[in-house]
C-alpha cells in the first residue's frame, strides 16, 4: 500500500515554477499544492505545458525557476511516483508478465505479484503472452499494472488513454476510477478531454495556452463510491462541472 501519510498533507508542492525549452517559455509561473489522496486532473489545450508539469513532478525535468517537491523532497524518476505514459512503452523483449515482474524486481518485491496486478487491471491469464499479441487497450492496462507494481504513494498519468478507441477508453476510465478510489493513492492525470477530467478527478486544474498558467482550480465534489458510471454521468452536477471546465478551456483557447 502507499505510504500512510495523513490525509490532507501535501504530497506535491509546486512553488513559483517556470520552465523553458531554450527561449520558449512552456510553463508558469505555477503554484500548486496537491494533498495526499487527491486525484488531480490537469486539463488544457495541446502544447499548454500539462505534460511538462507532469515531467517536472516525475523528476524527468528540472524547473528553470521555482521548486517542485514530492513527499517533501526533490523528485527523482522511479523513486516516489509510478508513471504511465501516453504510449504503453512496454518492453517487447519481455512477456506481459515479464514487464510487470521487472517492475516488481526493481521495487524489491516478490515476483509472485504479477497475477495479482494483472487481475487488478482486469487482465487475468495474459502473463505469458507477448506484448504485441494483445490489443492497444490491453497494453495500456499492463502499463498501469506495471506502474502500480512498485506501490508508490504517487501515480502520474500522461494522457494514457489518448490513443485508444472511445469504448476502450471509457472502460479504462471506469477501471482507473475504481482503482484510485480503492487505493486512495495520490494521482495526477493529464488530459485534454473535459469529460475524462470530470469523471476521474477529485480536483481539476485548467491550464492556459503556452506558457501554461492555472486559470481554473476546481474541486469535484461528486460521489466516488456506490454509484455507477452511467448514474454519475447523469447527475446534473456532472453536467454543470463539465460545462464550467469546458467553458474555461474554450475561453482560454480562444484568447490564445
Amino acid at each position: 500500500m502507499p505510504s500512510a501519510e495523513p490525509a490532507g498533507a501535501a504530497a506535491i508542492t509546486v512553488t513559483g515554477v517556470e520552465h523553458a525549452y531554450g527561449d520558449v517559455v512552456a510553463l508558469g509561473p505555477i503554484d500548486l499544492t496537491v494533498p495526499t489522496g487527491e486525484f488531480l486532473v490537469l486539463v488544457g489545450a495541446s502544447g499548454c505545458g500539462k505534460s511538462t508539469l507532469l515531467r517536472l513532478i516525475a523528476g524527468f525535468e528540472r524547473p528553470t525557476t521555482g521548486t517542485v517537491l514530492t513527499d517533501g523532497g526533490s523528485p527523482v524518476p522511479g523513486r516516489g511516483a509510478g508513471l504511465v505514459f501516453q504510449q504503453p512503452r512496454l518492453f517487447p523483449w519481455k512477456t506481459v508478465g515479464g514487464n510487470i515482474e521487472l517492475a516488481l524486481r526493481y521495487a524489491g518485491q516478490p515476483a509472485d505479484g504479477v497475477d495479482r496486478l494483472l487481475t487488478r487491471v482486469g487482465l487475468p491469464g495474459v502473463a505469458n503472452r507477448r506484448t504485441w499479441q494483445i490489443s492497444g487497450g490491453q497494453q495500456q492496462r499492463v502499463a498501469i499494472a506495471r506502474a502500480l507494481a512498485a506501490d508508490r504513494p504517487l501515480l502520474l498519468l500522461d494522457e494514457p488513454f489518448a490513443a485508444l478507441d472511445a469504448l476502450t477508453r471509457e472502460r479504462l476510465q471506469e477501471d482507473l476510477r475504481t482503482v484510485s478510489t480503492t487505493t486512495g493513492r495520490t494521482s495526477v492525470f493529464v488530459t485534454h478531454s473535459v469529460d475524462e477530467a470530470v469523471f476521474l478527478g477529485s480536483r481539476v486544474v485548467v491550464l492556459s495556452p503556452r506558457p501554461g498558467r492555472i486559470v481554473l482550480d476546481l474541486p469535484i465534489d461528486l460521489p466516488r463510491t456506490d454509484i455507477t458510471p452511467n448514474d454519475l454521468r447523469g447527475l446534473p452536477e456532472y453536467a454543470a462541472l463539465r460545462a464550467e471546465i469546458g467553458h474555461a478551456v474554450r475561453n482560454e483557447g480562444a484568447s490564445a
Binding site: A58, F60, P77, F91, R130, Q139, D165, A166, A239
Partner: protein
C-alpha cells in the same frame, strides 16, 4: 459553477488499436514459388557453366562441373595411397577453417559488443575510438596479416588475430549505433520503474540493440569467412584457404573451384543457422 454553457460534445477520436500478427503481412504461396525460382536459377547457372567450360576447352581456365565433382570425390577419399588433398580430406580442410572462423568470430563478436556498448554509452570514448574502428574496418585483412606474421609467427595465432580483428569492427559499429540510439521512451519507462544506469543498460539498451547486434554478427561472420583465405595463405594447410592456395600454385583450377564452393556453401549454411537463431532469440523484431 454558475455558467450555463451547454456541455461540449465528447471530442474523443476513435483510433482503433488491435494486435497484428506477422502472418497477416506474409504473402501466401510465396515460399513454394521462391524455392522453384532458386532451383531454376541453379539449373541455368549449371548449364551456363557447362557451356562455358566446353566452349573454352581449357580446364585450367574454366574446369567443367564434372571435373570439379571428380575432385570432390578425390579430395574426400583416400585413393592410390593419397589421402584427400595435401594429406587431408576436404572435410578436414573445411573443419579446420570453420574452427578458425568460429574462434575468430567469437573473439571479434565479444570484443565488438563490449567495445560497442562502451562506445555507445560513453560519448568521449566514442569520439576517440570510432575513427580507429573505422580505420581498421577500411583496411584489407591481408594488409595487417603481415604485421601479425612478424609479431606472432606463422602458426595459429596470427590467423586467429586476423579473423578476430576483421570480425570486430562490424559488430562494434552496429552495437555502438544501436546503443547510442536507444529509444528515450523506453529508457524513461525503465527509469520511471526505478532502474539505475546499469539496469537501464542491461534491461533496455542491450535487448533493444540485439537486432542490430545480430545484423552486425552476421556481417562479422561474413567478413571472417571472406578473410579466411587470406589468413591461410601462409602455412594454411590443413585449411580450405591453404588448399586453394596450394591448388593455385599448381594451376589445379578444379580444386580451387571446389574450395570456393566449400566456403560458399558452408557460409550459406552458417548464415541460415544464424538467421534461425536470430528468429528464435529476437521474436520481437519488427514489433518495437
Amino acid at each position: 459553477m454558475t455558467t450555463t454553457v451547454p456541455a461540449p460534445p465528447a471530442a474523443e477520436t476513435s483510433i482503433g488499436t488491435s494486435a497484428v500478427t506477422p502472418d497477416a503481412l506474409a504473402p501466401h504461396g510465396g515460399r513454394r514459388r521462391r524455392i522453384l525460382f532458386r532451383l531454376l536459377a541453379l539449373v541455368v547457372l549449371y548449364a551456363l557453366w557447362e557451356i562455358a567450360a566446353r566452349a573454352t576447352s581449357n580446364p585450367t581456365f574454366i574446369p567443367s562441373p564434372g571435373a570439379v565433382w571428380h575432385q570432390l570425390i578425390q579430395t574426400s577419399t583416400t585413393h592410390d595411397g593419397i589421402r584427400g588433398y595435401s594429406g587431408h580430406l576436404l572435410i578436414e580442410h573445411l573443419g579446420v577453417s570453420l574452427r578458425r572462423i568460429l574462434i575468430g568470430s567469437v573473439i571479434g563478436v565479444v570484443g565488438g559488443v563490449l567495445l560497442g556498448v562502451v562506445m555507445g554509452t560513453v560519448s568521449w570514448i566514442r569520439v576517440v575510438v570510432e575513427p580507429v574502428v573505422t580505420f581498421i574496418r577500411a583496411l584489407p585483412p591481408l594488409a595487417y596479416f603481415s604485421l601479425f606474421i612478424i609479431w606472432f609467427g606463422i602458426d595459429e595465432t596470427p590467423k586467429l588475430w586476423l579473423l578476430s580483428i576483421a570480425a570486430l569492427p562490424p559488430v562494434a559499429v552496429a552495437t555502438a549505433a544501436a546503443v547510442h540510439s536507444a529509444p528515450t521512451g523506453l529508457v524513461e519507462a525503465a527509469q520511471a520503474l526505478g532502474a539505475n544506469r546499469a539496469r537501464v543498460i542491461r534491461d533496455v539498451v542491450l535487448p533493444n540493440a540485439l537486432p542490430e547486434i545480430f545484423t552486425g554478427i552476421r556481417i562479422a561472420v561474413g567478413v571472417a569467412y571472406s578473410s579466411v583465405v587470406a589468413a591461410e595463405t601462409i602455412n594454411g594447410v590443413p585449411g580450405i584457404g591453404g588448399m586453394i592456395r596450394d591448388a593455385q600454385r599448381y594451376s589445379q583450377t578444379d580444386v580451387v573451384v571446389l574450395g570456393l564452393f566449400a566456403i560458399g556453401l558452408s557460409g550459406l549454411l552458417i548464415d541460415a543457422l544464424l538467421r534461425t537463431a536470430e528468429n528464435r532469440l529476437i521474436p520481437w523484431r519488427g514489433h518495437v
